[in-house]
Symmetry: C2
Subunit: 243 residues, 2 copies
Amino acid sequence: MKELAPDHPEWTQEELFRAVLEGDQAALAGLGMEGLTKLVMASHAGVTTDEFAESVAQWLRTARHPRFNRPYTELAYQPMLELLHYLRANGFRTYIVSGGGVGFMRVFAEAVYGIPPEQVVGSSLETKFELRDGEPVLVRIPEIDFINDKAGKPVGIHKFIGRRPIAAFGNSDGDLQMLQWVTAGSGLRFGLLVHHTDGDREYAYDRESHVGRLDQALDEAAERGWTVVSMKDDWKVVFGDGK
Amino acid sequence: MKELAPDHPEWTQEELFRAVLEGDQAALAGLGMEGLTKLVMASHAGVTTDEFAESVAQWLRTARHPRFNRPYTELAYQPMLELLHYLRANGFRTYIVSGGGVGFMRVFAEAVYGIPPEQVVGSSLETKFELRDGEPVLVRIPEIDFINDKAGKPVGIHKFIGRRPIAAFGNSDGDLQMLQWVTAGSGLRFGLLVHHTDGDREYAYDRESHVGRLDQALDEAAERGWTVVSMKDDWKVVFGDGK
């Protein structure tokens, strides 16, 4: 928001945006879903898809995680990277199915996870085709096209992939319906949950967390035969050296 | 519609459906977009995605084209199949980008065109995740999700593939914006239009046709450097022997 603000003088007229630009943490914490949506629409729409991808790339080149003091692109879990590599080496095609915005994820998914743009399924805004001075562009408009979370995940997988995967991996209740749908298919199926249990090396949270809550999926894991991995007990390394 | 009618006694109460079931050609010709949409919603929604795929497969096994007296799956253009094969043999990934329903196309695209489900971009109805007696299913609901035609085609390509193709092939004004967007990208680009000029072996139509009109795209082909192929003059074979 801060980087985009110089192009948006009208933002200073709005209390919500002013609070964000002044780094008012209390205001940020109290945003709620409506306020968050407003922020995303303001900062992620109104530009062409190419411009948006460039601004994401620019942000990723410079932003660092405040606690781990690394670029976000170096915070992929090492065991996840090894799993993706292992699956691909054995003839699987791997996808990311994220609640995050697909236009954001696609910018770095190939470099970080080895997953090309067409194998990223995510949430999206509407886009609109336009001729600008005769030049065809796709413009991001401030309307939600698709929310790829919870019951939306199997819908998104069906929409983009058109067939049912045979394995799915999640870490929150946002992945519950995806795991149900994937593991209910015929033949051998595999479902796995990563349980964030490591407050030292990463974070520890589950049933009470406001973000990434893992509750119902944890209850269903046992009865449905999903593997539960404890980050603290089962992962030798959390973040690798990026190689 | 006729095959589904026994499960839908309520259709006999509706004039539109009755006309269709009685094969009333005049009524069919006068349907208009609203009537057609109503037919598609009635016949393509209300079932699970698996049930729909099965009913498409069943229809394809038995239906024959009235003029060519062949199954529809044996009516792919031979030069198109050869082109797809040639592109794939040279490291390209090939996609179908159709105005037709993606849930319909995906059932036969792999067998007929060698294009797997995840490489079919098309129009779609909304689907909804449900647990039916504990069994997770995706149900097709009678609301349009996306129309992959005209200005929707570049939008659909961006949505599903997330990058700009370097070559595109079309045969109607429904492909105009796709061709504009694809061939406006940087580097070498290729655009091609098939002109249906062969009333003997297939059909002859262009600027005045109500279905598959080719008018504005034909005008732009010259100025934008798109290749125009005449089916009559340039295609030695239209329909092959299916091998």
